[in-house]
């Protein structure tokens, strides 16, 4: 049971992010929801690599030789960088929308319909 605790946390984080994305009507809060989902996915990737009784995969001055899987940490790093770039882009676009529509309520940003 305690093995699966990280995955339970991942599921709760992703569900909270989805709730924010679906039920909040302010654009900035919806982007926060996307950021929560990204955080959940990154945690999922790191939790996949864990092995019992192992230490971080650093050879410099390490006490023993059993280490967790390092490949998923590289995947997570790439995903974090992509998340930073995506958030910067999304927030810039929200700033431009605010300047032209004078609101960030997603029910008002509806010039493209049909």
């Amino acid at each position: 049971m305690i093995d699966n605790l990280p995955f339970l946390v991942v599921a709760i984080t992703i569900l909270l992010g989805l709730y924010t994305l679906l039920f909040r009507k302010d654009l900035i809060k919806m982007i926060m929801g996307i950021s929560l989902i990204e955080a959940g996915v990154n945690l999922f990737l790191i939790a996949l690599g864990y092995r019992w009784e192992s230490i971080a995969p650093i050879f410099t001055g390490a006490p023993s030789l059993a280490m967790v899987m390092p490949t998923v940490q590289a995947l997570t790093l790439t995903s974090i960088v992509i998340g930073v770039a995506t958030l910067a882009l999304l927030l810039s676009m929200v700033m431009i929308i605010y300047r032209h529509y004078h609101t960030t309520d997603v029910r008002e940003v509806t010039k493209l319909q049909g």
Binding site: I58, L89, S92
Partner: protein, 157 residues
């Protein structure tokens, strides 16, 4: 929009320490946790501390926007140049052509647990430095455009 004198002085002093710490993270990326992106983000934090503590005009008087763009571009060109240099030496793309050859980063890595030799791992530290320079330029440019976008029209990128 600048803060009080205590904060401004502390920010000026801390700027140096944060930059040194950031470059330490970048340079030792192949031995301890860290590397290009993480170290670059820390150095960008130092610049953002200066932006928060001082007037934007003061900051733009000390550092030009163009210099950050040059940083970003030179970091990227160094990265791709190091990768393409392997082709000119007859190997394939991205080959680590400096490892094990002696010289700048060319010592052999001893197997197993050791205390960490910095002059090892070939082109990896060079690419870490390139990415560090690029990320510090990129993140600072993002924050500069966003804060100046509050006042005047700028292109969001």
């Amino acid at each position: 929009m600048s803060m009080s004198k205590i904060i401004r002085t502390t920010a000026d002093v801390m700027f140096m320490f944060i930059m040194v710490f950031g470059f330490y993270i970048v340079l030792h990326g192949h031995l301890t946790p860290g590397g290009g992106f993480q170290g670059g983000a820390v150095i960008a934090t130092a610049f953002i501390l200066l932006i928060v503590a001082h007037h934007m005009d003061d900051f733009l008087g000390w550092f030009k926007k163009d210099s950050f763009q040059t940083c970003e571009m030179s970091g990227l060109v160094l990265f791709i140049g190091t990768a393409l240099a392997a082709i000119s030496l007859g190997y394939l793309f991205f080959m680590n052509f400096l490892s094990g050859k002696g010289g700048l980063f060319g010592q052999f890595v001893p197997f197993g647990i050791n205390q960490g030799f910095m002059s090892t791992a070939g082109t990896i530290p060079i690419m870490n430095i390139a990415v560090g320079i690029e990320v510090l330029g990129g993140l600072t440019i993002i924050i500069l455009y966003m804060t100046s976008g509050i006042q005047s029209p700028e292109e969001g990128k």
